[in-house]
């Protein structure tokens, strides 16, 4: 392992050295300790591999990966790197194949990632060919362990990663199940290139403290709810979290009516409130649930807008954020339309999410040259426990708890 480069001023989780977002050594260590370590990385949706032979390409950290469904209906994942000279095996984002063939020298691979064919292995007319000791079974791209949970496909290079249920913890499992309780369909995909370290975005997702302060859309249009109850759940490992809020439907109905009756114009309201005209589909009253799984998965329910996000490091100050918007397969046309309209809230142009693209950049630029200085993560105390209030950075501290454990810091 590399030498410890980062000085953590204390063993507490309330201070974060800025070097952790700017050090190339840390980034290299993350690739080994986290992405190739004992974590479950989100790969894709089960629904995105509809048939035998369907595949998608993605990344685990910076490693290119192929995810594919074989004829036994199982999902396999392996490094997207030819065993010969290292070229990409699959070039498209998605497709359907019987087997894979590298374009460079036509080596072939099964859908389980085994090397099955070497062009001219025996040579041509007795000339050339591979040496007698070459055994195809000994060579092939590295394979990942694959698991699925509620239609989410995760992969791991780690030997000791626990089962997915244990990795997520009971409460997180329940909260995923709550949203992904029936078959889904992809209704849109967008990628946002963020000009900041991946950790700043993943922390932002876990930072329930900023939501009502930075994202002013709801308050500006007086759509914020007076009676919002909610809470924050941080799992035992610290790496996974849920933040949620509940709208008391009686209060909402009254305030909507009241707004409709008013004629004065000094309040700012949406001219077309159909943007937010949703329907009740979860009978627990939760209108917003943001859930994250270490090191880079987010599941979101904002009213009727369901999406998964994949957070991938793309460089020290570059993050790739993949948004996949979902509907349920049994949506009526009206329900689908509501989801499409509400997707205006999220994504790169989202009324309540475009700011997250901006602030990551503000932090990354703000900490330039801030060696030996550290961020303060002390809102709501020092712990990582669940709470009813959301003015807390407990889930951010939870992230650092998990991060430091994996990194051995």
């Amino acid at each position: 392992m590399q030498e410890q480069q980062i000085h953590w001023g204390s063993s507490a989780l309330t201070r974060v050295p800025y070097d952790v977002y700017t050090s190339p050594e840390v980034m290299a260590q993350e690739q080994v300790q986290i992405y190739r370590g004992n974590v479950w990385n989100y790969l894709c949706l089960d629904a995105e591999l509809p048939q035998r032979g369907s595949y998608r390409t993605t990344f685990v950290g910076n490693i290119p990966v192929v995810v594919v469904r074989d004829s036994d209906d199982e999902i396999y994942a392996f490094e997207n790197r030819c065993a010969h000279r290292g070229a990409l095996i699959a070039l498209e984002k998605s497709g359907k194949v019987d087997s894979f063939q590298c374009v460079y020298h036509a080596w072939t691979y099964s859908r389980q990632g085994d090397l099955t064919g070497v062009a001219f292995e025996m040579g041509v007319k007795g000339q050339g060919g591979m040496g007698p000791g070459f055994c195809k079974a000994d060579h092939g791209p590295r394979k990942l362990r694959v698991t699925t949970f509620c239609g989410l496909v995760f992969g791991s290079f780690g030997e000791e990663v626990p089962d997915i249920e244990e990795y997520l913890g009971e409460e997180i499992c329940d909260r995923i199940q709550r949203v992904l309780h029936k078959p889904v369909e992809v209704i849109g995909r967008f990628t946002q290139a963020l000009p900041n370290n991946w950790k700043l975005y993943f922390e932002n997702v876990k930072d329930s403290y900023h939501a009502s302060l930075l994202h002013m859309f709801f308050t500006t249009f007086e759509l914020n709810r007076l009676s919002q109850k909610g809470g924050l759940i941080v799992d035992e490992s610290g790496g996974n979290h849920v933040s949620y809020s509940i709208t008391d439907s009686a209060t909402v109905d009254a305030s909507y009516k009241e707004q409709g009756l008013r004629t004065d114009n000094d309040r700012i309201r949406l001219k077309d409130p159909s943007l937010l005209a949703g329907f009740t589909e979860f009978n627990d009253g939760i209108t917003l649930q943001i859930l994250s799984v270490f090191p880079g998965f987010v599941l979101q329910q904002i009213q009727n807008c369901i999406a998964v996000r994949q957070v991938l490091p793309a460089g020290l100050d570059r993050t790739t954020l993949n948004w996949t918007y979902l509907g349920y397969s049994d949506d009526t046309a009206e329900q689908r339309n509501v989801r499409i309209k509400q997707s205006n809230l999220v994504g790169p142009a989202g009324f309540i999410s475009m700011e997250d693209g901006a602030v990551g950049s503000f932090v990354q630029r703000g900490i330039a040259g801030a060696h030996d200085l550290e961020a303060i993560v002390e809102m709501g105390g020092e712990g990582t426990s669940s709470s009813e209030g959301r003015a807390t950075e407990a889930a951010v501290r939870g992230f650092w708890k998990a991060y430091r454990r994996h990194m051995g810091m």
Partner: protein, 154 residues
Amino acid sequence: MIDLLAICAFNAAYGNAIDSDALEDWPNFFTPNCHYRVTHIENEREGLPTGLIYADSRAMLEDRITSLRLANIYERQRYRHLLGVPDVESADDTSAVARTAFMVARIMATGETLLFATGVYHDRFVTLGGRLLLAKRVVVCDSTVTDTLLALPL
């Protein structure tokens, strides 16, 4: 008859409204029950309906501008639209269907200019009250990646 020149002039005024920060004028290029959507080539090819921006009324476009002015946080930035010659598929006295390629550069508060987006407008124009208006503009970006955020409309 809606002709090429009329569409060219329309597009020039449209780009200019955004680029000169006359954002409040931007919704007025659309009919009251218009369709405006920003998407990219892969979603379009696969028939995925969601947009980065999705509006089915002019009022929604007005709301977006109000939100940009009053609610959303983003760095000061400008665009420069360069619009190609419209490829007019059909046109008569009251409607026209056309496609126009665009390049949009983004000029940031820090002073740098970057190529931000390229793509094609898929348009349906109508005349309403003697004015040419967009009944539909689907902005199909060539790249599937958006840098940092999409604040101003395309």
